[in-house]
Symmetry: C2
Subunit: 158 residues, 2 copies
DNA sequence: GTTGAAACAATGTGGCG
DNA sequence: CGCCACATTGTTTCAAC
């Protein structure tokens, strides 16, 4: 939370919620839905961005159509938990085209890698080449992801 | 994959890749970067949407600023694997404000729930009220998520 | 695929409550 | 101080090529 930041009011939350459902709506549409003039609405959206509440806008794609026919969640344990090792692992893996997102975890697994690959041979190669080949990796477990659904409701409570 | 669909060429992939990095770029900017006239570029983007390669546009928000101070990954096993039971569980949970996304898994866990909560009391209450309270739930395990990083590179390989 | 005109949306300014 | 109306700028979109 930044300094000099007004707390979010109900209208801010309404704007966030609308944009979270569908970020492609125009400012004008949002303004209409929340009952503000477009300029006032835009002012609020800009403030939400400046305050870091809105951090960006991402495209949703159908990875299956891009050749990502299989999705998997790969649990990884490292043997070395230095900040440098952990952070290097994270950076290296995030840059690979197969890796869609990385969860840095507490608990017995250090990382969950959500990956997409073209087929099971690709999955096997990815696990061997990108993960078990690394010295700091201690344990790897792969589970298939049948389906990944993302909520279209913005988290908001208190 | 739909019928009547042209395979993606290099320019399509370039457009996808640019928009995947930052979906807030204007069509005009994308057109410039890929070396097309804005109208041709827009035509391609529209086609990618019509073909279902681009499925939407999502807002990235800082959940921490919305009161989501803790993120967790909750592994759930059900005792009953009927389609109806599984699908009801998925629908019910996805609509809760704490749940950001649901992975339907193969393997010993049926679901991974990526959730955000305000504090550890909230986490405990959520697990009890939304998960273990359900008859079909057999086993629950909760792990803290320190950090979740999403790739800004679109998955793409043959 | 391009160009250029018309339609529309985003943005900045100044005035009002 | 936040909101609105209006003027300006820029973007999208459509038709003709």
């Amino acid at each position: 939370m930044k300094k000099n930041q007004r707390p979010l009011d109900q209208v801010d939350l309404q704007i966030l919620s609308l944009l979270y459902e569908d970020a492609s709506q125009s400012n004008k549409d949002i303004a209409n839905k929340v009952g503000l003039a477009p300029s006032s609405c835009l002012e609020r959206i800009k403030r939400l961005q400046a305050d870091g509440v809105i951090t960006g806008q991402r495209l949703s794609v159908d990875v299956n159509q891009l050749g990502g026919h299989i999705q998997a969640m790969i649990s990884v344990r490292l043997s070395d938990h230095n900040r440098a090792t952990v952070s290097q692992f994270q950076t290296d893996l995030l840059s690979l085209p197969e890796v869609m997102s990385i969860f840095h975890m507490g608990g017995e697994n250090d990382f969950l890698l959500h990956v997409t690959v073209s087929d099971s041979a690709h999955l096997r190669d990815f696990v061997f080449n990108a993960i078990t080949a690394r010295k700091e990796v201690n344990h790897v477990e792969t589970a298939l992801v049948y389906d990944h659904q993302i909520s279209s409701t913005v988290p908001s409570f208190g």
